[in-house]
Homo-oligomer: 430 residues x 2
């Protein structure tokens, strides 16, 4: 499949006009996220999939037939037929932490090509970045306790569920329930039982016994199908039977109710029965603030499972991510309408020892150390690719280096943005 | 590609246990949405894609190799290798309006198959239903004015963007900017220019003139790149030039600022210049409440473009959609933990002349008129398929028939749910 129709119609109309007028000079578009009070920083992710997309961009005969039906003329169609991926992409490596207004990538290419890929480029960066950022916030809240991604079923689409599981891993998740994501990206897969398993058996303890018999090395019992504390007591019985057979129960899972109180009562029951090493897993409607609350009150929970809130980034399912023309034919361009200033020129983000709080947004050709954007792609050939493990490592290092004020999970009325270099300020004022 | 890995690991673990124990009797799972204060009703959509998914369900040799690596034994793998799509699906047709707790579909199949498809079935119904419902709310708010889907770039994934555009059309959108969705589903495609088009020209009026020359029959000028009212005055100049050439300017588009005030001032400028038929299109951060406000104050806007809020259903990007075991081996089953009652038995929703407010949720074998769920699939063969046009028509009729109290766009502290039939009540109490 050619990918040229994965675009908005206005891109094609503009391009038809550009082609007619010979407006095919080099254009630079800059992709960045506008300030978002709920997110003082972002884990950028999705650049690698953008490069994949660009590599396969073009128009098949079938695509052109469809466009002919929309009224595009033969001259335009013949230009589209020969539109090969061309130009250059500079980008931050996947997993890099960025602030609002800092470019995640910049495309410099003949104006028609750079314009046609706008829709897909924005789309392909957004979901991975939004979910990786959410995962990083959740990991911060969990304070070192493992976080597992349970979100596949509630993600916005099947392939999106796989992409979201990857982004959750990059942002700080430890493992996933998503089997296809585990296969495709080598993420550790986890999962034991749902309520339906309990219900399919005559009663809860029969279900626990059956599972412990079938998976004695890896039994985590879901205890809240009927009555949670009764479930914990049933789990204790089965833990005893497992121990007699030479195994130890790995854990129990709480999936509803007051998790702070239930985890304490469960811990007591388990400890008093002689099972201090049986772990307590908690899931069910959790997000970073719920986890921070549980950690804050000292709930004895060993690991958190997060589903919906992670997979769709429920509080911020989309950000104001834009792809703005900043130069055309060697001329820097900007946009001035109400509250939506666009800064002119191809850019670079300079980050030095001081860290993200001291970032400087400047022009790409400034002679300064610490530039984050690197050349990644030229005329269909990649000069970089970013694998999941490296991206995850990069995100983890950024979280470790994050200054305390930026660890706050609450809203920022004025989210941080980079300081402008004096050369960029001069150009913006010109 | 086989689809058997598009699942959560716990499904496979449970199934391995079921297979070992010969627990392969018929199970019925019921998929429904729990009460959601922000959504008193839903436009169900996605059933057709579930049936597609079931048709292709199975395990390839590569899949089985991966599962062997996760520790599944040869007996389980050999059962998975021969797992063909089997069972029966009853569902409401795509585009049907449903309340919380009303099943959208029910799967009755051998327990292992019915369990393995859980993750994908939930996933495939959710996004289309959430977006079709959002589109219907936006269409209600617009009160008959056309609504156009501009959300592709902000959707959570590329294929999800195509699915979201389809769902937006089904729920009440008139057209889409998404070219691939237009091609695949025959949705009308619309779009003219972005700010970058204006910026790529030396000045705004040159850009307007160029576009009008290239698309004289379909010119909608984006007026807010620099100064909105100055942009409208430039559009008036070009409208005059177009008229001299025998064409009429179709419209202007406002994409930022105070749309109520700007639309009034733009209307006055256009009318006084002799262009009362030039339409005003508005876009930029709109959702149903923003549109309702604009309509409420009589803003002279002819058509609305909605992007992010529609494509990700920003206020409710995911709902509490569940797939619950309600019967196994002829035995109705239920679940009782805190606040999450599951009603037992295969069900039917009965809707009679009184409409959705009088819906009755009963057992499937009750002899009552107006059952909404129909048999759609059996053992890999479909008995129904639901195309986009029919789904859209069904949704439109439901919106027309919607009782006034349910047209409210605000929160419902107690969203409506169907009354239970006496037979279902008796069974739930048993």
């Amino acid at each position: 499949m050619a990918r040229g129709l994965y675009t908005d119609l206005y891109e094609l109309r503009m391009v038809a006009s550009y082609l007619k007028r010979g407006m095919t000079g080099p254009a630079t578009f800059s992709l960045y996220i506008r300030p978002t009070p709920e997110r003082p920083w972002f884990i950028a992710h999705g650049v690698d999939s953008v490069l994949d997309f660009l590599d396969g961009f073009g128009y098949s005969d079938e695509d052109l037939t469809f466009l002919r039906g929309l009224g595009f003329d033969e001259a335009t169609l013949s230009e589209l037929a020969k539109m090969d991926p061309r130009g250059e992409v500079w980008a931050v490596p996947d997993g890099t932490m960025v602030l609002a207004n800092e470019p995640i990538l910049e495309v410099t290419a003949p104006l028609p090509f750079a314009q046609l890929v706008e829709t897909a480029v924005i789309n392909l960066v957004q979901l991975p970045t939004v979910v990786a950022t959410k995962a990083a916030r959740i990991a911060l809240a969990a304070g070192g306790r493992p976080v597992v991604d349970f979100g596949f079923r509630r993600a916005q689409g099947l392939e999106t569920g796989v992409a979201a599981s990857l982004a959750a891993f990059v942002g700080g998740g430890l493992a996933t329930s998503n089997v296809e994501a585990a296969r495709r990206y080598g993420i550790p897969a986890v999962g034991t039982m749902a309520h339906s398993y309990i219900q399919a058996h005559p009663d809860e303890i029969s279900a626990f016994r059956a599972y412990a018999e079938d998976f004695p090395e890896n039994t985590i019992l879901l205890v809240d199908t009927y009555d949670t504390l009764e479930g914990v007591r049933n789990a204790v019985v089965v833990a005893g039977e497992l121990r007699e057979a030479g195994h130890e129960l790995r854990g129990i899972r709480l999936d509803s109710g007051d998790l702070a109180s239930l985890s304490r009562q469960s811990r007591t029951i388990l400890d008093e029965a002689g099972f201090p090493d049986v772990q307590i897993f908690a899931s069910g409607g959790l997000d970073e603030s719920g986890i921070a609350d549980l950690v804050g009150v000292g709930a004895p929970i060993d690991s958190f499972g997060v589903g919906t809130d992670l997979a769709v980034s429920r509080d911020v399912p989309a950000v104001d991510i834009v792809y703005k023309l900043v130069a055309y034919n060697g001329r820097p361009v900007s946009k001035l309408s109400t509250g939506k200033l666009t800064l002119p020129g191809a850019k670079q983000v300079f980050r030095v020892a001081g860290g993200i709080e001291d970032d400087v947004l400047g022009l790409r050709d400034e002679d300064r150390p610490g530039g984050l954007l690197v050349p990644t792609w030229r005329d269909g050939a990649r000069s970089e690719s970013f694998d999941a493990a490296a991206a995850r490592q990069r995100a983890a290092e950024a979280l470790t280096a994050l200054p305390d004020p930026l660890k706050k999970l609450e809203r920022f009325e004025s989210p941080p943005t980079p300081r402008l270099s004096s050369r960029l300020e001069d150009l913006a004022r010109a």
